[in-house]
Amino acid sequence: MTIFDFEKPINELESAIQELRQLSAEKGLDRSREIAELETQRERLLKQIFAHLRPWDKVLLARHPKRPYTMDYIRLMCEQFVELHGDRLGFDDPAIVGGLAKLGGYKLVVVGQQKGRDLKERQKRNFAMAKPEGYRKAMRLFQLAEKFRLPVLTLVDTPAADPGVESESRGISEAIARSMLTMFQLTVPTVAVVIGEGGSGGAIALAVANRVLMLEHAIYSVIPPEGCAAIIWRDASRAPEAADALQLTADDALRLGLIDMVISEPLGAAHRDPQTTALSLRSAILQQFHELSALTPEQLYQHRHERFRRMGTFLSTP
């Protein structure tokens, strides 16, 4: 497990607590008072640290190797899920998963980018960098949703769309564009949640929804901070500064009017308590679908268009 600077003291405390617990169990000694004390300390430290997270810390949290991924949330949130494969055009992209799920009384089409937990899976999933076929699978599932009037939930978690030669040769740009177009055509309720990294075009390709939510420590950005720093200062190591400049946190997105809601994560971020995070996510999603269920198909279509029509900040000179 990668330990980020700001997480170090917490992890040290957690190790100490763990050790004491083990000691208690093995030797039968009662160390509960010390444990409780350390846990209070941990709690205080977490609060302190998480009250002052800088944007770059959020970038690190969004990319945290223990952060729950799409399939984790599907498992934790959904009553049932059957994955469907393939773009029906020659490929099945493991970087995007999708299928039919039951969630609190709703029957849904769920689509999301999927990172890998270990090296092997990470490579198989291409680090959640989808190729054209990933977005084309998504489009096929969106159209299935439209046909059978199933609401659509997307979970966004990608550093970027795959930029390689193979993806370019199969039209990654077209696939991203057409995925957005397809989402604009839908007349069923759609909800997108940025659960980790919302990496530029690769992310928004799945995030053209009636409601767009973000987890508290997720990010959403037009360019990775490293790339931004490389362009501005010709120095990728100044990424933390770029992260400040880019305003890529969930709070920024909310303030800029680009998302509808920030879903709180448990103290210490989602990876410290996936179950609780999944519960919050679930209830936020259900709330959105509940509200959207009041709209007619035509209203859902118009609502989505109007939502994105408004986006942008500019002046108009007389």
Binding site: M129, A161, D162, P163, G164, V165, E166, S167, E168, S169, R170, G171, I172, S173, E174, I176, A177, R178, M180, L181, F184, Q185, S200, G201, A203, I204, A205, A207, V208, Y220, S221, V222, I223, C228, I231, I232, A245, L246, Q247, L248, D252, A253, L256, L258, H305, F308, R309, M311, G312, T313, F314, L315, S316, T317, P318
Partner: protein
Amino acid sequence: MQRRVASGSSEQWVQCQKCKKILFKPDFERALRVCIHCGHHHRLRARERIAITLDPDTFVEQDAELRSDDPLRFPDYPDKLMRAQQTTGEFEAVITGTGKLGGSEVVIGVMDFAFMGGSMGSVVGEKIMRCFLRGADEYLPVILFCASGGARMQEGMLSLMQMAKTTAGVEKLQRAGLPYLAVFTDPTMAGVLASFASLADVIIAEPGALVGFAGQRVAAQASSGKPPTNFQTAEFQTEHGMVDLIVPRAQIRPTLLYLLEMFGGAG
């Protein structure tokens, strides 16, 4: 098509950026800045493009009053904007409006790479969106000349959202059943290619134009094999099914006329 491109320079000789041969400027301008030796299509400014595309004196600019804000207070963004405005004489990276093509009214938008690399921020997104809405409202075809490095970093997420916004515009125009023609000029990249640009009914590209998603270095790094020599050219994209036809600059106007005629009436 042999109208002369406006030019501010008074020198009589220019050098081809590709083959480095020396060209007599009046000839070069008459050839619409295509090198007579190697065929290299040199970049045009937006208003030059409008001049050689539309019927003379029919262009009416729209939405020229829109100006970029600095919503993120991004380092140096106001300076960059001001410098771009000074060097280009334009207020933004796309010029939009209406005009006539072969006597028929069209909506036209032309991106200007000279203005901050043709990058798409809120103003570019809004102006392109209005092109599509104007097309749908006034029942006019839309023609867009693309030239862009991608989304404008300095407006962060707001620029990213312009990808979705302009795509919504395409969707509205499509639903209205009107033609949308795109011309990829050098370069057409990233956030512009991955949104409205790739969704045209017919896509024309200028020969040799750079057309692609990621920067060449990033693409190469992310791949096992070596990119082909024509990687991310208009020709590469045509081989890979993303461009309908490559058209030399002088033939673009007649091609647009033919396509609009085909899409304009019943068979």
